[in-house]
Symmetry: C2
Subunit: 445 residues, 2 copies
């Protein structure tokens, strides 16, 4: 993309309404625009980053054998009356009446609807196990929306639901989700730690939240430093193997890691002091086994091999897709702006032309643009007639992980400069070498 | 995808509520499930087809130089009060009140919001021309939703908006959209004819609807048969060239083609009789130049080179993405089911194993599955323990354009059967030849 033809409305000033760094940088980098309290437009740069995050979520869910579909944003109230949640949900549920005076709502989550889909179409144990998921906009009418997309009202969430014949199979689905989530977050450049969550009114302790460590997080967290040494890396996982998934879950749930809701001071104090950590965390996902809570009242049953009819065991598993953009920036930025991890960067590399209008520099930039594109990379080329300082400031603010600087002096010497956004380190090399280097870096992502 | 692990709830019976063929087949093929009047879940097969259509829309918009973003589904009523449409829109607008008693609405379209984004960030003629678009769920509270996704209430639409300095530039944007739409529909295997549309209360005749010929269409259409001979093909278009775009628009708008709303009997009768056609059509898109209708009341202005401040010229351009699924099926089916055009098929090819459990047949199917996947194709492998007849019926119903049939006798002779869904023609060949043939077919899509 050429910046002269793009729509990247960066702001020079810090917007007064933004209290946290991710909100500030998302506004300043022209990623989002607030349209109403807690409701945002995703401007082109923000939309691109959001799509990268969503794409990783899809890829990892599909890798785990989960099946995508799409439920609508609006739901009939009657479904929620069946589960008993219509009255319980309170004011965060956006209730709507249509022209025929039917009660509707903007879905804050989809347990009822997916259970309805299941019961309409599945009747036999032979069709289990089954995990369906979607990535769809949700609405929760937060009383005080704040922190930009971190606590918005209209937000994009991945929510998946497993249907299993029995507890053991459902726990495998739970474990499979944990494994897929670990891999998902790591691909986004995040370390999200699974922490035992409060079980809520349902009971049982099969629920974990995933928290990204960040000083602006909403939860206080307590953990054993051993957990931050764990890496998912490029392990090949057989998601059908209960043993493999269970072993990975065990690896990540053995070191102590809890939020203030589940924190146990006695257990924590038993950790060697040098490994005890307290911090704050941003919740970016949660997995939850809830058994027959919905299948029983809503009649989602299957016939077993013995001919008995039993309610299915279910769980729900969420990733806060739009919120992740905020979390990634909270975890990865400096004073000058965002620092995108390679896995989610909206453009792979920025090209800064130091002397727009100088024919050899322009030609070199165009050639670079073409060569990068030919390698499947998406460059953002700052081809505006602007001072170098302004171009650098924009690139630093929007945070592409790599920048290639092209100037007349370098071109005369056959060199461009490749700069790493995170370290600030620059290296001179030929255009061809820079293209090859970047292709190599992104091939591993 | 292996069918034994997929969620494809096909129906044997014709659903009584479906009056038109696309609705019937979408329900029977397990593509959609109604959740409330005019509100559908897109089950896995439907979701996949929807994504293919959406992807083509994105690719062609980006090719034309238009920039994607994403506006939210909910909008504040105040924006619509500025344009004067809040009171005018009538009962099709779903009006919502949030917990703080603020008036909101579920966006039926986005002229107001995109104008708000523009005026907040653009100030100079130097930032023009600019075309922004999104693909987002909309809601229109139709009094009698019907025909499945063809006339739903919650529907997916691509809507794009151009901002230009003057009339000529805005007309180029209009032409550019027409060209990109012609290409978009053709890639989906559709012939969508641009027809002069009624201008509505705004005046001016710069609006065209795109109609797919189908007996179940909602509009009566009149056209010169010459227009159905036109093919976009693989022309390379320079979307920046006013001349090139104008020439293509001229090519498609010269032959007579109008709906009953704009039909002129006298002009029609001047067409040689053997070329006069009347039919019915499904509207799948519309382009519209409306000048300063929104920019003026909402203050979307730019400073010109002369220092004057002028309202920008705008247009809006829509494609009914979810509706297209219905239109494609209306235009492409037979008694047995859907016939997907290659460009939008949810899976590229079906594999039918005639004798599940026979080890050589199973092995051959697995090898085929692997080889097709390695070529970047997505097969749907019917690996269920079912009669051949049931497998064929399912494949015919869901309408993948190609099927490979694998049986023990063929395998013994080193052959599989490749069948074209549209023609029903089959050809015996080696597995390798079938894979190569399909790779070649889809390489051209």
């Amino acid at each position: 993309m050429r910046l002269s033809r793009y729509f990247l409305p960066v702001l020079k000033e810090n917007p007064s309404e933004a209290q946290i760094v991710s909100h500030r940088f998302m506004l300043r980098a022209g990623m989002i625009k607030q349209q109403a309290a807690g409701i945002y437009s995703w401007l082109p740069l923000g939309f691109k980053a959001l799509k990268r995050v969503e794409q990783i979520v899809h890829e990892e869910q599909i890798r785990a054998g989960h099946i995508p579909l799409l439920m609508p944003t609006l739901q009939p109230a009657d479904l929620w009356r069946e589960s008993g949640r219509y009255d319980d949900y309170g004011e965060e549920m956006l209730r709507i009446t249509d022209r025929h005076k039917r009660d509707m709502l903007y879905g804050p989550t989809n347990e009822e609807m997916i259970t309805d889909i299941f019961r309409s179409h599945v009747n036999s144990y032979k069709d289990l196990p089954l995990t369906l998921y979607h990535v769809q906009w949700k609405f929760r009418d937060e009383i005080r929306p704040r922190f930009g997309v971190m606590r918005g009202r209209e937000f994009l969430m991945k929510d998946g639901y497993n249907f299993d014949l029995d507890f053991d199979s459902a726990i495998h689905a739970y474990n499979r989700h944990m494994v897929s989530y670990l891999r998902t977050y790591e691909r986004m450049g995040l370390q999200a730690i699974p922490m035992r969550a409060a079980s809520g009114p349902i009971g049982g302790d099969n629920t974990h939240e995933f928290l990204v460590l960040a000083s602006t997080g909403e939860s206080e967290v307590f953990y054993d430093a051993a957990i931050t040494d764990l890496k998912f890396g490029d392990r090949v996982v057989d998601y059908d193997s209960r043993e493999e998934c269970e072993a990975i879950v065990k690896e990540w749930t053995t070191p102590y890691a809890r939020t203030d809701e589940t924190h146990d001071e006695a257990i924590f104090n038993a950790i060697p002091e040098e490994r005890r950590r307290t911090s704050r965390g941003i919740e970016v996902g949660q997995i939850f086994y809830f058994g027959t809570k919905y299948s029983e009242p809503m009649g989602a049953t299957v016939v077993t091999a013995d001919g008995a009819r039993v309610p299915v065991h279910m769980g729900s598993h969420g990733i806060g897709v739009s919120r992740l953009l905020g979390a990634i920036i909270e975890a990865s930025h400096d004073d000058k702006g965002i620092i995108w991890p390679e896995g989610v960067t909206p453009f792979h590399v920025g090209i800064v032309n130091l002397k727009q209008g100088d024919s050899s520099t322009d030609l070199a930039c165009e050639a670079l643009y073409r060569d990068l594109s030919a390698k499947g990379l998406e460059p953002l080329y700052d081809d505006r007639d602007e001072r170098a300082g302004a171009k650098f400031a924009t690139m630093d603010l929007i945070g592409l992980p790599w920048r290639i600087t092209v100037g007349p002096r370098g071109i005369a010497a056959g060199k461009v400069e490749l700069t790493n956004r995170r370290t600030g380190e620059s290296e001179e090399m030929s255009s061809g070498a820079a293209v090859d280097r970047l292709a190599q870096i992104y091939a591993g992502i």
